[in-house]
Symmetry: C2
Subunit: 207 residues, 2 copies
DNA sequence: GCATAACCGGACCGCCCGGTCAACTTGTTA
DNA sequence: TAACAAGTTGACCGGGCGGTCCGGTTATGC
């Protein structure tokens, strides 16, 4: 095996210009297609929407799952960044509720059920998800300490309930684009300490 | 075309004994398989689980959707009956919450997302669904009149939120069998009038 | 117990999917 | 501008799906 002299092979070689353009076209098309049809979106349709060949898709991402994971990873990192940033806000309760609002809004584009489907595939995605969850847990605990969220709720409870608005709205055919806010408000009211009833004997789940 | 004398053809002829047995085996197997794997369950797997041939499945129900619709129809009628029965209870609030509890519990076996998937297929199912929804709306309005449920919520809001517990729990791998109760409690607290905040400017959806 | 119609079952069909590959095109670099 | 590596492409493959069909089987009425 020979090696070209004076060539320090970069960890990943720089992408050729057309390849980079195709890659971003692909990511946009895939995000749209996954958002519309979920995991049922076919690679052929994604390629057609991006205006590239099917083979090109598999050159950029060896598997349909890898393509999905790349997209989900983006959103997860984005949300994790927001969560860490909001952790520094003065009002702990408003910080958590702002985060839930942003998360619910983002899920209009990409439901979190992908976290389940894609989480088992990609190790990087799993790590990123754990970091996001940890940041959310921190937000929740601070909001509880400030008395803005009922004490008998866990971080994981909040994580699960945060997926509700976008899911619920997906059942309404001609829903207004901000209908999810209505159900987010309902979810948040359920998390508030005022007027909270017992959650019953069912133990929470560990993280 | 000849007609056998003295034979009044019944609307649907009586099922032969073995056919009736196979049909109930099929329904049980299909319900289990749909519950576990959703719409991804394959007819071949259902047939194998029921211990019958694939052709027999299609003899009883001409389409996979028809099979699903038959199962969903059962649960919907069951729930509608319960809703009408609870409408006569003294405590209007407890009646609604009892119904939500029963509905969430049933969905552990069969998620309501099937109502969306199968609803477009079968006319009878659509009618049955409308009757169920009407019964729920009646329950909600009575609970609101009794002051047990916040006034700014509609019947459809409650219908949508009623699907939350089973859906949320489906994300938790080794969930305890009654974990859904925890999230039902959270949902119900969000529906209570005590400590309710504004739902914001987003208008509710019409039924 | 026999004739018959209802029923059963699994081989088979066409279709679509994720993924591969070898021939071809194009950006890059010296 | 020449030469090559990187990138592109669509025909192709194996597999699984919903649904069909017909030869064999079985319950049932007389």
């Amino acid at each position: 095996m020979t090696r070209a002299p004076e060539t320090r092979a970069p960890a990943t070689r720089a992408l050729r210009a057309d390849a980079a353009r195709n890659r971003s076209l692909l990511l946009a098309a895939a995000a749209a297609e996954f958002a519309e049809r979920g995991m049922d979106a076919s690679v052929a349709d994604i390629a057609r929407r991006a205006g590239i060949g099917k083979g090109t898709v598999f050159r950029h991402y060896p598997t349909k799952d890898d393509l999905l994971a790349a997209i989900v990873l983006d959103r997860v990192e984005e949300l994790a960044g927001l969560a860490r940033q909001l952790f520094l806000a003065e009002d702990a309760g408003a910080a958590l509720f702002s985060f839930l609002e942003a998360a619910a809004g983002k899920q209009q584009q990409l439901d979190f059920s992908f976290l389940r489907d894609a989480g088992d595939i990609n190790e990087r995605l799993r790590e990123s998800r754990e970091r996001l969850f940890a940041a959310i847990v921190a937000l929740v605990e601070r909001a509880q300490a400030a008395g803005a969220v009922r004490a008998d709720v866990t971080g994981l409870d909040v994580i699960l309930m945060m997926c509700v608005p976008s899911h619920v709205v997906s059942f309404v055919p001609g829903a207004a684009p901000d209908l999810w806010r209505r159900y987010l408000a309902l979810v948040i009211d359920g998390l508030r300490p005022e007027g909270a009833h017992s959650l019953g004997p069912v133990p929470p789940i560990g993280v």
